[in-house]
Symmetry: C2
Subunit: 264 residues, 2 copies
DNA sequence: CGTTAATTTGAGACCATTCAATTTCGGTGG
DNA sequence: CCACCGAAATTGAATGGTCTCAAATTAACG
């Protein structure tokens, strides 16, 4: 529900340019790894990606990467951290419409639009590879396979959003939260953030509430029931799945809508 | 909520092939008209579209055009009628995740996917231009601008879906229904189905309920309040907007998320 | 180790659901 | 043209899920 996030920060104040490849990996390494299996990019396509002009930036917790209504000049690929897309309603309440994990494009859908129609905000601290819009559009024009890969990414994002509509429309609080946890667990696993049955869930209860359309108070109570039923453990951002089949049952979860965002 | 739709019909039984251009217009006329303004296709691109191999089919009320989980072999463009995308949950309840109007692609997102992840069902009777998936993919490869047009369409669909998430997550019944009516009114207007402040709203109250995540009973009660407050008239599928600014206020409606799906 | 954010708890009010039963409506055949 | 039928819309009353509004407790962070 929160509208009281971090105060709006100016673009120049929100990020910090880092030396390229500060951690020894290419900033787009996760993205390219993802795209080798499914859209199956050629080696030369991958080279083109690798030599793309980009700025590696660090985004502070709560800072905005894109603001609703702004003209779209850049496109971002998430390197590390977690980022949410969100919209505000007139009462000031917030609805999160998507969660982005490392290796995903943060606002590919804005490439063909003049103005962003939602905001992108960083949970915790994150790193983003920022690429100028014309750079990406030229790349797509020159290399159709990369264009297809990006298109496929937006299609899978859309599929996830549709499942969220189902989640909010036809499941009660228990189901919604269980479903969200199942999705995030699989997606975190796909990007190597779940060594075992436990993972770091970077969302607060208030942010979970903004994902599933409930109040933080009610999210709290639902999580307690999931805990006492032995389905999960969750505290201090550490989520453990104690009973996967039970959780999928409560959440009516079938991961096929995630397509290539999970390991099959 | 209904699971009791028309009984499942076999593909061969559900449609009827019509002579091409039975009404004097090209089946893709609306689509091409839409794409001349915004993605601004060239004349040769439009020619390529006009000579595309397609089958014009009539779809009976309640029949399925795509079934969830099926392999995707075709893509459809809606010529006339109204069609919904939907998913079922384990309780048997239905959630409608999108509404498609004439001139829109019905399952463009499935072009890059192996299996459909939701079903497409015809409200009332409709006509669809069915195009084989390889035909479309070849066209996109040969004419990147058409690929972009289709991509933009999927992006706008995704934007609408995100607004639906907001609608279900952060608005009460009144707001949800008012918002849906505002959206449909503008979109129907964009395809020339609203000569004045009145239009044909082809959804039953039960179908409205499945769009906004409520029960038909509650939709009925909400509609009554909207009527008694002098905002709308709605009976027998005939919707009249009596007080547009009042309705947009109740629905917290800002149509920018519709992008090119409305006339500006 | 203090300060702020996040989580937890309680009780009452309210929105929406459930489950029928009833009425109206649109279309059909006599 | 009327009688009829099934689908859609409407109504009622009781139940239940979720919200609201605090206040208290716990955890996170510099």
């Amino acid at each position: 529900m929160s509208t009281r996030e971090q105060p709006y920060s100016q673009p120049q104040g929100r990020t910090k340019t880092l030396p390229d490849g500060a951690d020894g990996n290419h900033p787009l390494a996760l993205l390219m790894k993802r795209w080798t299996t499914r859209p199956s990019l050629s080696a030369s396509d991958r080279d083109a990606l690798a030599s793309l002009a980009l700025t590696r930036t660090r985004v502070q917790r709560g800072a905005y990467i894109v603001r609703e209504g702004e003209p779209v000049t850049h496109c971002g690929a998430l390197i590390s951290g977690v980022v949410v897309r969100q919209k505000l309603v007139s009462t000031g309440n917030r609805q999160i419409v998507a969660i982005h994990l490392p290796g995903e494009l943060v606002d590919a859908q804005n490439l063909l639009l003049d103005h962003a129609d939602d905001s992108v905000q960083s949970i915790g601290q994150s790193e983003v590879a920022v690429i100028a819009k014309p750079t990406i559009l030229d790349l797509i024009a020159a290399r159709p396979e990369i264009g297809r890969a990006i298109w496929l990414d937006t299609i899978i994002d859309a599929s996830i959003t549709r499942e969220w509509v189902v989640n909010m429309g036809r499941r009660d609080g228990r189901g919604r939260i269980a479903h969200l946890l199942c999705e995030l667990y699989l997606r975190l696993q796909a990007v190597g953030q779940c060594p075992s049955d436990r993972c770091i869930l970077p969302l607060s209860q208030e942010q979970i509430a903004d994902c599933v359309g409930l109040t933080p108070v009610h999210v709290n109570r639902v999580l307690q029931t999931l805990r006492t039923e032995g389905l999960i453990t969750l505290r201090a951002h550490r989520l453990t799945i104690l009973n996967w089949s039970g959780l999928t049952q409560v959440g009516d979860f079938d991961g096929r809508y995630l397509h290539d965002r999970i390991k099959v």
